[in-house]
């Protein structure tokens, strides 16, 4: 279908927080790949047992939306841009474990077909933006929603906060990986990454809360279903 260029320009074009090959060294990439494989396998195992029929169409739609949304870089301060990561949004709509599968699929296609994010670094990218984004974002959303008794505004606040913290956690992990690889010292890369992503995270928060508000207004039932996780297991027993 597409031309496979075997002599690409040497210069990578990292997008969002997608780490290109070369930014992290082999041991860090290998450890990240190891964690990612284990967690994605766990996600498959969990969803395999508990995936509801409703969740599958939503998973496909979420993957499509996140792929498209990640192409839209919005300008933030100082000649920098950012784009949605989407892990929190996916987790809110399909549950954290199914969302990990969605994010791993999107990031895998981006790396393999669109040369966005390295191949050796793909494990780290899935770990940072997929796994951690889904779990951290969902934990905060579910926690705030629980204390808000499921009322709309606490839920939206939880979606915003979850998305912001998910971006910050991803930026933190990315910085640690760069530091461990001796690519950039922690005291340099950590504040720089956290600083710029604290702004990108606000946009992530607004998009996530906005999308949740849209679903709340259009199809509230879709939000009552993130029961692919531990909640439903409890119900089975």
């Amino acid at each position: 279908m597409a031309a496979i260029n075997l002599n690409p320009p040497p210069f990578p074009d990292p997008s969002g927080m997608h780490i290109p090959d070369g930014f992290i060294n082999a041991p860090v990439a290998a450890i990240a790949w190891g964690i990612t494989v284990v967690v994605v396998a766990a996600a498959v195992w969990r969803t395999n047992r508990t995936l509801s029929e409703k969740a599958v169409p939503l998973m496909g739609v979420m993957a499509a939306f996140i792929f498209a949304a990640q192409m839209i870089n919005f300008p933030v301060a100082g000649g920098t841009s950012g784009h949605l990561l989407g892990g929190t949004l996916a987790a809110i709509l399909v549950g954290p474990w199914a969302a990990i599968i969605v994010m791993a699929s999107v990031l895998g296609v981006q790396g393999l077909i669109f040369q966005d994010g390295g191949l050796a670094a793909m494990g780290a990218n899935i770990l940072n933006m997929g796994i951690v984004g889904c779990l951290v974002g969902y934990a905060i959303y579910a926690g705030v929603g629980f204390f808000g008794n499921g009322r709309p505004w606490p839920r939206l606040a939880g979606a915003f906060g979850g998305a912001w913290f998910a971006v910050m956690t991803a930026a933190f992990l990315c910085s640690i990986e760069l530091g461990l690889s001796d690519t950039s010292p922690y005291h340099v890369v950590l504040p720089a990454m956290m600083g710029v992503h604290s702004i990108i995270g606000v946009v992530e928060g607004f998009i996530t809360a906005g999308a949740v508000a849209f679903v709340m207004a259009a199809r509230r039932d879709l939000l009552e279903m993130p029961a692919q996780g531990p909640v439903k297991e409890a119900a089975i027993d």
Partner: protein, 109 residues
Amino acid sequence: MIRQRYVMVVAVGLAIALLVALFSPLASSDPDGLEKVAEDKGFIDEGKGPPYEVIADYVFPWVDNEDVATILAGIVGVGMVAVIVFAVGFGLRAMSLRTPSSERGPPGA
């Protein structure tokens, strides 16, 4: 019927995704978070280019108009991830239906 109710969700969801993809040429071309930090902190040259390119940088090859090439790349990517995740999801769903009912959730839940 669950199936019919979800056809609409898929149709509207995919339409939104494709609509977003149509706006992709308007995306900011400024360096993004990690790229900017890498430039500012002097480690951008550590990056290695990919070993091969298919639709690199979200520009569909063989199309001269860059806006059209970007939109095409977006449509291809949207379709590709949707098909992959539908396939994985229905595969997992089929597997979960084969596990003993005592180990899975109530039908249609």
